[in-house]
Subunit: 452 residues, 4 copies
């Protein structure tokens, strides 16, 4: 028997493989499906069904890829929408995977047709709930995807789904949501990596509300919506293109890389320290740990992408981009940034300063422009006193707010987002930037006496 | 963060690795510790603590091996016994692994000092109970290890541990026992591979009892006790020898194998069909899937062991034997049984018959001796009408009950144990044996009209 | 830099990957190309060229698969034939792979357009000759593929290629042929796994001849030609179908397996001992070590194939079949033969006898029909005195030569081919067969006094 | 059969595993022996012999580790020295590994007792020469290890070994030396990764000499000798300590790392760009690609070593250090330099300048101190006009030659060694340093008009 979770890092997306007596099923597969195929084969099982909990908006679903590989039958939720593949699952519909019964439960709220799937143990007792984006560990699914006008409606639906359908299943049920901490699909998801309905009932803030209205007040919020969501939504209805083999990212010499630059977007996945040290003019800083979260915000699907990265990460980068549908991957710099500097090609730098250095310069000079690029909640939670807040994702529309005659210090919690902001600004022609390395965390850890 | 389970196949032993913020701990490690080291390293964590739930009797503990490799501090339960390593854990004692609090709960019954360890989530809420051999999925730990005279006493202790210490922790706690289905430490363990306290409260028979006495009536039983338990118990107090590198099983030519045979025990891990086809005279049939369960019953620690196996399984076999302390591994037959037959060396066979063939011969002849070698419970649950029951583990003491002048048909459920029985009897000189291939399962599946 | 050889086991096919400074090329790729892609990526190289030494007849070429994956340019030999892909290589044409110069040398004989490719070291000195099927270690390529009427013509061409083009390159050149020992493309290939032109000049029998005529006398022979060669030749001109992902072999329950049997061919890849013990009626015995060599002889491309195998070998079996173009793979028996016997389904057996048993029965009885199924050369080299010779591949056409009223003993060197012969005969209805386990090797190793 | 080469990267050390018919041998094993054990096991072979070509000076030999693991017999060369393990090989002594004959040939010169081992193919023909440090691809072993007074004597011995013992074996023999390009044991080794005696006879400069005297004139040179050679020589006579399991490098929080710093040496294995961006005060820059070559020059065996590295490289770093006997490995910074900067701890930087920037500043200012740290041959081969030459390994003894009142620009070919030099100088208190990123290669590639 298999009951296994897969985390797509960066997206914090969870998918699940179950298998029993030679049959297997995947819940919410990602697009690179090799792990499911391998694990199922190892257990001498074939994947005969795929269950989608909802039309996903933050990654491309792997259902069609699996269907092509194994002939599996695909069941999707949101039957009211116009899918070009698969079959809609009905509320109450049930299937057997070996001895394991799976039953669909309609739990609208995140989307109108969202489904949970309840798995029973080999003895037939309710056991595991695959809850999709209805209920997470410490949070619930966002209800703003259909727009502000339907926000309250969706929140009411979700309230009903959670309180009248999910929680009544009982404290002892193991809860398996579609996302973990770090997902854009739930900003307050906890790091309780495995959970139960009972733990959510007791500790999840959205389950503590006294009334439907209190739930709406707490949870019915318009959240950030990365522009790539639109593309995911469209492709997840059409069925993403089936490819079979993961694309290959071509290694490029500095010469070949340079030739492709005029038409391309350049993404540098090295860390803030390396990027600050030296980078290629015009490149964006997206550290590989945060690439999955930012690619969909700042990259254009229609232009080729060039990467500067640790060459050992090339395959991981392809996977990340493949999962969110970026197919125009032009290549990466062979032997990394060193080959570039050795070839004498043009470079740029971004000065890194420590908290103490920033602090000193603020004391003696005062002519800094502190630019806090964190999310609004973070900014409200405290920061440097005179900082101006422009969220990272809104910088391009607010360039005019940033002075060209001052030293600009982009700020964030640990320095990664501020380096991305700085790289965007540098590409737009801004000079005189300095980066607080380690971000506000470093500031707090230092003994700077300047008022935070 | 890591929260991961490891199954030692065949033993159905579960161990667990947890890690957070660079620190890691293992609960009930097995002796081949490479998996823990690798996974901890991958998470950039070092193993700083080992927690034992009790003095294990069915495998060798890896605590000393980890201590040697990482300098981890070892905590054991059963402090009343004379350990030569580590430190006793105290009831209520707590530790931090990163942000995860671990608290020891004294839950005697399986052994006098058995401990459970309750892990809290990063927010400090009770989360996961490592329950050792106190409570399994569908069963509870055996209470007969201290002998019949203390059977009831231990059962009372376990009743108290389960009903007054474990179940009160609440339905929503994830329950992580030390064994899964197939272990000799609990014959009724269910295949609900992950469970919660609530599911056990509702579905575990030992939790359904009305009173302490009912629990004792149900659960206070003397069970089979493989002879190797004694060795495990001794070594798990002394601390098993630390080796660092897993032993290597030498490939042997038929000539070299033959030279070592006079002093050695020969174990053939191929399946019943292959073993029946051809095997080396004197060898015991222990299919590799059941080897971990039978090695400790039928093999002698003091004599070297030779293996006939699929050569690709050689490392797995070393692991299996290493986990239960067999260190005198003399080698395996290079290129398997084929090299033996090609070299023209002596062989033996054991005839395989189908249910229909057996059925026919019983109708026409009647002079068969049907020898059912299953466990007593299985035998009572139904079998062939005229079969004589001698449990597999008691055959050697009951040789005189088996007639030499009849066709002997050892029987079991699927044919593996009966082939082991046949190989033992053949080694003891019995002839005229035939094997019902596929065992009673095959009989039931066929349309034999002879009364079962 | 990469200079690496890949062996396709069973076929004894060698392919080569070379890479330098980010560029890579493959010589004679097999159809499952993942190894080349992975190794090239690991070296930060992309495969920009594929070189074929000739139109292969014993496996499907992976050129089109690579072209699809990386956009590589494909160069083939035998430009006189009508390829549907790639570009013909010209004699003397040269390419650079990083600093490594590759030069084509026309060496006809095996096929009319066969090419060798001479690789120079980074300093420009001649270094390695990829010799395709022109010259092997200990043998030369077969010259009979265009039929008997062109046999001598092709042999003369090959003589010229070897003596006037290859050997003059000098003793110090490393020689990299397309096959190693065990290939059907050269029956005398030696186990000198790496060789040089000098070693072949000195030790290869085909290089020892005094004259062209002596070469023809020695080497111009019509050899066995498995029927699947025809299919390979056709597909290697058309370009084999491109698939991307390796097919998946479905695990089947005994019930599902049974349902598919009427339309299917059944191949059992277990060893002779297991197959003799128990097998499914109608199945052919092709031990997995010899499967690549026999599948093309005895299996039909148009009917689905079912496998009985060690489940851990399922992926290897897919690879083997995929390499020679068998795409109708219906599945394999989940959990192997044991699931079949446990389910009580019909089985058959084939008796295994030892040399001593056979010898005794020959002395006392004499009514055996000894059927030697080895190749003619082997048979001429010695065997059992009264054996009748019918080559394994000719048994089906010679069924009438095999008596139905005698005990038939198929014989070969080690027992694998004779078991295949026995399984064919059993499928055709012959009874009364017995197998000399270990074959004539076992006979020779025993002290049987009956005259060999 | 196995005939496989293993490269220890960075050291450019080659070792070899051979196996036939269940027996295996290793030539010049490295200390981390897991690869040999795994590959031998996979071929169903056990390692029964180890052959050393000479007492190695640049890495620790794995002979004792293998002896402990498999009971192999160890043969060493240099029998005149006082080994504490193994048995001396005698000139002409021969062994069989399956069908492969190995014969020892005394080839003094690199050391007095150096041995080559000639392997014959399965037919008994001379096939492969394991030449140790006698003859490389494009170079010969150094003859200066016994000191200047014996330089000529050793060179004469080596001349005799090469010309009278090795070359006469014939052009067609495959030559397998103990080192490839990049080794400190031969500065001119070519990138012809596989070679033959014939190719060396024709293309190796040391084989082109007209006379013994010409050989001496060309080759009898005192070369650089890293200080760790002495330790290797001693341990390779005593037998390096046997450990079984590779040590584990502990991940350390910034706090724990900081606590260990006062007693420790800090090595930063990130690239020049990252190191320049931010590093920990007092740390030495040794990029992981060059770590094996520099660790033995600049690190002290008696003080613990702390690493700043890509955490994914931690195991590789342990391997590198283990191979050259550094056992006091205190740990590495968990989550790398980012955790350090986020924690607000003190950092340092080293400015990176481009060739154009340097060029401009030289034109306008002229007050730069250009410090060329390359080897003397490289320096003589061309560089920046006004540069002062101090070899990297002699900087510490020549600190007084470096002005404190000028901008100091350490220079090397590509920027790695100059960054190491800069980090040493920074640790010694020098300020005002700037690094030409990409080194002289970048200079040459740019259009700087300042005279090179």
């Amino acid at each position: 028997m298999i009951f296994k979770r897969y985390e797509s890092e960066g997206l914090a997306h969870y998918s699940y493989l179950i298998a029993d007596e030679g049959q297997a099923a995947v819940i919410d597969p990602r697009r690179d499906i090799d792990v499911y195929l391998q694990d199922a084969a190892h257990d001498q099982a074939y994947i005969c069904r795929v269950f989608e909990t909802h039309r996903n908006e933050d990654y491309l679903i792997g259902s069609c890829e699996i269907e092509e590989a194994t002939g599996a039958e695909v069941f999707h939720a949101d039957k009211q929408w116009d899918y070009r593949y698969g079959t809609p699952a009905e509320d109450g519909q049930a299937w057997m995977i070996g001895r394991l019964k799976i039953r669909a439960i309609h739990t609208p709220g995140h989307t109108p047709g969202s489904m949970c799937y309840l798995m029973h143990d080999p003895n037939g007792n309710p056991w595991v709930l695959f809850s999709g984006d209805a209920l997470f560990s410490g949070d619930a699914g966002r209800v703003d995807l259909l727009g502000e006008e339907r926000l309250e409606e969706m929140a009411r639906l979700l309230y009903d789904s959670i309180f009248n359908k999910i929680l009544p299943l009982g404290d002892s049920i193991i809860l398996c949501p579609a996302h973990g901490a770090g997902s854009v699909c739930g900003s307050k998801i906890m790091e309780r990596t495995w959970t139960t309905i009972g733990m959510e009932r007791m500790y999840n803030p959205v389950c503590q509300v006294e009334s439907e209205q209190a739930f709406i007040d707490l949870h019915a919020q318009m959240l950030e919506r990365p522009p790539y969501f639109r593309k995911m939504e469209v492709l997840n209805l059409e069925g993403p293109p089936v490819v079979g083999r993961l694309p290959i990212l071509s290694p490029l010499s500095p010469e070949d890389f340079g030739k492709l630059m005029p038409q391309a977007q350049i993404v540098d996945t090295r860390d803030q320290v390396s990027f600050g040290g030296v980078h290629i003019p015009g490149s964006l800083s997206m550290w590989d740990h945060v690439l999955p979260g930012f690619a969909g915000w700042f990259l254009d699907y229609d232009r080729p992408i060039l990467f500067v990265c640790d060459p050992e990460n090339a395959e991981d980068i392809v996977r990340i981009m493949f999962r969110i549908g970026f197919d125009k991957l032009a290549g990466y710099l062979r032997e990394g940034i060193l080959s570039w500097v050795v070839s004498g090609k043009p470079i740029e730098k971004l000065s890194l300063v420590t908290a103490i250095e920033l602090c000193e310069s603020m004391k003696t000079d005062g002519d800094q422009f502190l630019l806090d690029v964190r999310a609004e909640e973070e900014f409200k939670g405290g920061g440097l006193k005179h900082a101006k807040h422009i969220h990272l994702t809104e910088i391009l529309e607010n360039l005019e707010l940033i002075p060209k005659d001052k030293s600009v210090f982009p700020l964030c919690r640990s320095g990664n987002r501020s380096m991305l902001a700085a790289s965007i600004l540098q590409r737009e022609g801004l000079e005189n930037m300095k980066l607080l390395t380690g971000g506000l965390s470093a500031w707090q850890a230092s003994d700077c006496d300047f008022e935070l």
